[in-house]
Amino acid sequence: MAINRNFRTCPASGLVFHEPADKLMRWNAVAAVVFLLIGGILAIGVVLTRWQAVHLLDPSAFYQVLTAHGLNMLVFWIIFFEIAVLYFASSTLLRCRLATPKMAWLGFWLMILGALMNNYSVIRGDSSVMFTSYAPMGAHPTFYLGLILFAVGALIACFVFFGTLVVARAERTYVGSVPLVTFGAITAAIIAVFTIASGAIILIPTLLWSLGLIEHIDSLMYRTIWWGFGHSSQQINVAAHVAVWYAGAAIVFGAKPMSEKVSRTAFLLYILFLQLASAHHLLADPGLTSNWKIFNTSYAMYLAVLASMVHGLTVPGSIEVAQRQKGYNNGLFEWLRKAPWGNAPFAAIFISILGFGFLGGISGVMMGTEQLNLIIHNTLYVPGHFHATVVLGTTLAFMGLTYFLIPVLFRRKVAFGNLATWQVYIFGIGMAGVALFLMGAGTLGVPRRHWDMSFAGNAFGYEFPGAAWLMMTLAGICGLIALTGGAMYVAITVWSVFLGETVEAPGFKRVSAREGVGAVPLPAPEQPGAHAGIGGWGMVAPGTFVLALVFLTSFVLYYFVNWKYLSTVWPLK
């Protein structure tokens, strides 16, 4: 069978797209946005029910909607988009044909089938078991089967990605090492394989248990292994969105990583240590020793935290260097003031870095500290944290990337002019508010996944302090703002992709790689002293360093505030 070697070159960006990879990326991205839309509609129910003044849904519908919201957003939207990113980082960036496109389509349709089956089980009404589906609470077998099929499809996609790397190496489509963004994508894919293996180890027995073929699933075993899947899948997101940050800095500014060594080593730390950090979900569980908890959450997690702190410096640092080289070299922050704040991909990535670091990162470390977890476990602080990491961090970064991909991949102009930039700010600010106020409510003890914080009609009810109610109202308002931003995103992308103005490229045709793609790009030789004459105070990126110190100061203060708070609660041992 002949291999399709047809490529096209994007006239604006110079990127090269392999024909089958091009189509797969588009279909995966469209599927992602469809599931984002479903998850977003469900989010209306979640926001308007937890906002106690509205209290829209009854408990049964609320728990059902919350389950489906979590799965569609956290699994289906993000992973479909990540598959598109994997194909982009392999086939497009390495100028290589995609390995086995037919297998990639098989993976795609398995993922679609799995996602639909899982949604079907939740719509049935007997599978409102939340994203975590903790045994011994059981769901309909199609719930687990859907997730398993989806995971198998995603695994196939990961191997298509690895295969493409092998092909690129064999056919010498690039010289030297893979680009940093591809390196980040490899990190994400390796973590994904580990994640899916953990998922299989726990979900397959759970499926058999739901069919009555296995007697008993131990609740602690379930939680321990499930989080190897549940948390690790969030590490895929971290690796993927950090890769997108680097890609964004490269695309918008032509920024070059400050040091390939530092950035790549930081990605390696993710591979080595992030998964063990899944243990921080079990800090308030019986049957596990403190030594086990401390080992897994500190030794392991803090090296991963270190990696994120490094990326948090190097991405803005590389932007600062690029801006200073363009002449914005005055003072500490001219590079930032003169940044393209009206450029949607830049704004998205900048808010993503800030939100992920300040809100998501710091709160994540609090929850992952063995003793501090006692005053946080299962409160709304947890959803507050992951709306900062997965939504503000990952989703917003992906939104920014979309505005770059619409002209490049779909060959359409982004519709509605500046609306895309507004969308980024509205969504970013709304979601930052959601994260912040949910954390505030959690600090005051408000539980997550809970229909009624007023405990109306209950003989032993509890009255939360007024501040907690205020936090919930503010979270509700911010939730509506974020929903508006999300709706704008869906409207802009759908309109652009299906009805938007086509980007005309005169003389456009696909050409076969053998004659068309041209010479392999040689990496430019490093110019000695390229950074000479920029920056100040003995550093090339002093502004970023100051921002990093601001971050560190808030981190340290907030960390010890929480210890202070912990020291006031009842002694226990």
């Binding site: 939340m130 390939e260 019986p286 006692l374 405990f455 560190l552």
Partner: protein, 181 residues
Amino acid sequence: MSAILPPSERVWWKQPLDRVELIWIVIALVWCLIMFFMMPYWHVYGKQNLANEAFRTTPAEYLKKTEAMIAQYKVREEGAEGQKVPVVAPPAGADVYLVARLWQWYPILELEAGKSYRIHLMSMDWLHGFSLQPENINVEVHPGYDHVLTVTPTSKGTYSIICNEYCGINHHTMTSKLYVK
């Protein structure tokens, strides 16, 4: 030359570090080490630590111990007619059994401020979340694992126990009181 192209150095780990990166890595590493040492430090000098003490048992066995304790220390009953829950006032140092089940905490505890109690937590069915308000102490409750916490209430008052691990349709009704005298 950027993050989406191959690096200029064929061997990327030979590329030198920038000074700003090196300084930041050292600072961040020191901070990570401080955070690491805080956890063992708190085990030695702090007062709020979770126990390593837990036993495997069965719901029937655990419920038997609970009923025996209720028979011994029961002082009264509380709650709506037809849904009375016993209140127990165990002596300091006693083993206190608290049952978590769909959708109830059983029994209600009455403790004394400044005294220590060995509180056992276990679920009879699904996962539950022990959440003491407004103290905001939160512990996961598993079926089959009897988790022992030595707790010392510090101040008098009426506290609430709510469930904060989702446990089905009536999850939000799973609440109880805890009295400290």
